[in-house]
């Protein structure tokens, strides 16, 4: 099966950015993955909407090893643990673009995990390239460019579905990032560089286009990639389920400090 026919085998739905509090986005990722896994929702592309800054750590990361909690508190930055593995991110709403894909696992059947990362983000690379950004995929899960790293992806296979999300740096307050995140030398040991800030190459350093134009181009590219994309939304029932998951999981100290 060709790559394109894998995508076009589904009727994809789009959820446009809905500005919500930090935990809502993480809970929605689980709710929508469950719905797609249960066959209750079409495969979906969701762009995140944000209203507040956060530090997002990976499912398997330790809070104290990754975050300077005093600095985060000082700036009113919440610490969130997501459902997927991967690394910590410092996020300010206007400075990032995050999307999530929720799909049946058959979309990536027969692929290794490493292959599936590049496959699931290929349309995003195409969108960036169409805007004149010299972007490519760097396995396992990085989107990079001649100007530096643009973003990273993370994936989990759960609830009978695949959740794949990625965050792209549109802009970056690197001083603030370095205050809040702890980035050790070992992590950079195979990157040939010594500074995490130098490693990032936000989109805005490479094009003057506004953030919304980038998002629109990504939506157009995805629609073409899949041979169609229907407008959709988060249902009231899904939002209610997300609220429950914030109370029982994503908003709890037990979850966030699973690995202290």
């Amino acid at each position: 099966m060709s790559d394109r026919s894998r995508w076009s085998a589904y009727r994809w739905h789009l959820i446009r950015p809905l500005p919500v509090a930090a935990p809502v986005n993480h809970a929605l990722d689980e709710v929508l993955t469950r719905r797609v896994g249960a066959g209750e929702r079409h495969p979906t592309l969701r762009f995140w909407g944000r209203i507040e800054p956060e530090v997002v750590i990976g499912r398997f990361q330790s809070v104290r090893n990754e975050v300077d909690e005093a600095a985060a508190r000082r700036y009113g930055i919440q610490i969130m643990r997501r459902l997927t593995g991967g690394g910590a991110m410092f996020v300010e709403p206007p400075n990032v673009i995050t999307y999530s894909l929720y799909a049946p696992q058959e979309l990536v059947a027969g692929m290794s995990f490493v292959e599936s990362y590049a496959f699931l983000d290929a349309w995003a690379i195409e969108a960036l390239r169409s805007l004149g950004i010299d972007a490519w995929y760097e396995p396992i899960n990085d989107m990079t460019s001649s100007g530096g790293k643009i973003g990273g992806a993370a994936q989990a296979r759960r609830f009978g579905a695949v959740l794949h999300h990625a965050t792209l740096a549109y802009d970056l307050n690197s001083d603030r990032m370095l205050e809040v995140l702890r980035i050790g030398k070992e992590k950079l040991s195979d990157k040939g560089i010594t500074s995490a800030a130098k490693r990032v190459g936000p989109i805005r350093q490479q094009t003057n286009l506004p953030r919304d134009v980038i998002v629109e181009r990504m939506i157009e590219t995805f629609a073409r990639w899949c041979g169609g994309l229907a407008e959709g939304q988060v249902t009231a029932a899904e939002m209610e389920e997300a609220g429950e998951l914030i109370r029982t999981k994503y908003g709890t100290r037990e979850w966030i400090y699973t690995l202290p």
Binding site: S62, E186, K187
Partner: protein, 91 residues
């Protein structure tokens, strides 16, 4: 005690632990790796908890490997990477 190891081209594994009476206690394995299913982290950590602190890297890797169910997928790291982070923590 704290040890880190990054697999070249892969992900970081971090081990935090203490040693009591010659054995590893209070072990925590973390990192920016990917692991399916997520619950397998409990088995990896349990393989280290209580182990003799003088085990060499190969023996630690063998313990971790033996603790994993056949369906576990480690992406960007390996039992050997965990073992190296443990040895670095204990060094």
């Amino acid at each position: 005690m704290h040890g880190e190891y990054k697999t070249p081209g892969g992900k970081l594994v971090v081990v935090d632990c203490e040693v009591r009476d010659g054995r590893v206690v209070g072990a925590q394995v973390s990192g920016d790796f990917f692991l399916e299913p997520a619950e397998a982290l409990t088995a990896i950590t349990a393989a280290i908890e209580g182990m003799p602190a003088d085990l060499d890297e190969a023996a630690i890797a063998a313990r971790v490997r033996a603790a994993l169910a056949p369906d576990v997928v480690m992406v960007g790291f390996s039992p050997e990477a965990v073992a190296r982070a443990v040895r670095r923590a204990l060094a």
